[in-house]
């Protein structure tokens, strides 16, 4: 999250709403560990990354849903072995869980 701080500050001072997605858990093979983070502004601007590019697109969609109030803040899972997981997966075969919430605290 360190690398996001300047952008988070900038958005906050401009009054732009932002969603924050943080990797909380990785099972098996995963490119980035817990704490990898990305932020998505209500205008769809993106900073940071949470995988090697495998799931970022889907994270943007979910983040915008949280900001729009269409989805509660919570955990989303990406991985090919999990029935409930999103269709998008990690090419390396692992499972990652992210916590997505509005950055309003």
């Amino acid at each position: 999250m360190r690398e996001l701080l300047d952008d988070l500050d900038r958005w906050r001072s401009a009054g732009v709403r932002v969603a924050l997605a943080r990797v909380v858990d990785v099972e098996g093979s995963g490119p980035r560990g817990p704490g990898a983070a990305m932020a998505v502004s209500e205008h769809g601007e993106v900073v940071g990354s949470v995988s090697g590019g495998c799931v970022e697109g889907a994270v943007v969609t979910e983040s915008l849903s949280v900001l729009a109030g269409d989805r509660e803040p919570g955990v989303i899972t990406f991985g090919y072995s999990d029935d409930e997981a999103f269709a998008v997966g990690l090419t390396c075969g692992g499972t990652i869980r992210l916590f997505v919430e509005e950055y309003d605290w």
């Binding site: 999250m1 360190r2 701080l5 988070l8 817990p34 704490g35 509660e72 919570g74 916590f99």
Partner: protein, 268 residues
Amino acid sequence: MSLSAELASRIRDGVPVALATVISGPRVGSKLLVVPDGDPAPSSLGDPDLDRVVRRDALAELEAGRSGVRHYGTAGQTTPEDLADTDIVTVFVESWAPPPQMWIFGAVDFTAALARVAKILGFRVLVCDAREIFATGRRFPMADEVRVAWPGPVFAERGAELGSRDVVCILTHDPKFDIPAVKGALATSAGYIGVMGSRRTHTHRLERLAEAGVDDPADLARLMSPVGLDIGARTPEETAISICAEIISARTGRAARPLRDTEGPIHR
């Protein structure tokens, strides 16, 4: 100050801080800011007992520089029996610890290359040599700190800073500098101690160390000497890669073989 502003200011200042966030269960999104020293702005996960237990666990995670998920009862219960009768609160503890340190003894050509690679890996680098003309900021602009000093006093003054994530590399080849540096390093909790030299230098150094009273097999087993992985490195830059690769494999406990020749998941 908001919770995020306090968190950001600590992260920017490189001061240890952990943030616990409820990610599932009751009160999703509530947060507890945990610091090893001082009083952060009040924050809570909604239950004083849960706060107490999570604060304790977060301090341990912070010490180890780890982040991860933990499960509790709504009042901080942790044992399986207690968890059977309660809602489960899943908490993500993210910790920001100051960068690990690399102390390099000996201001030689290998030092500059090693310091550069160490910076890429995120270490805070200290270069130390007793010779004033060698230990200069101009020769080691990439180092965070350059000290003109003998190893003994540096370890006496600051050795307690070093923990399992920290590294000491001794590159001098000069017994009158090597021996006190090795003694000093062994008295710390540094996770990796590398000592440069040929096999012959290594054998001679073991004799000198024994003369200096350093002969405990458990101590000697901590020394990575000769330093580095056997990748055929010759230049200072190649040697720096060889040393840093060994530091990584020592931390992860992996055998440093080509992935082609091993099996199982790559990221564990």
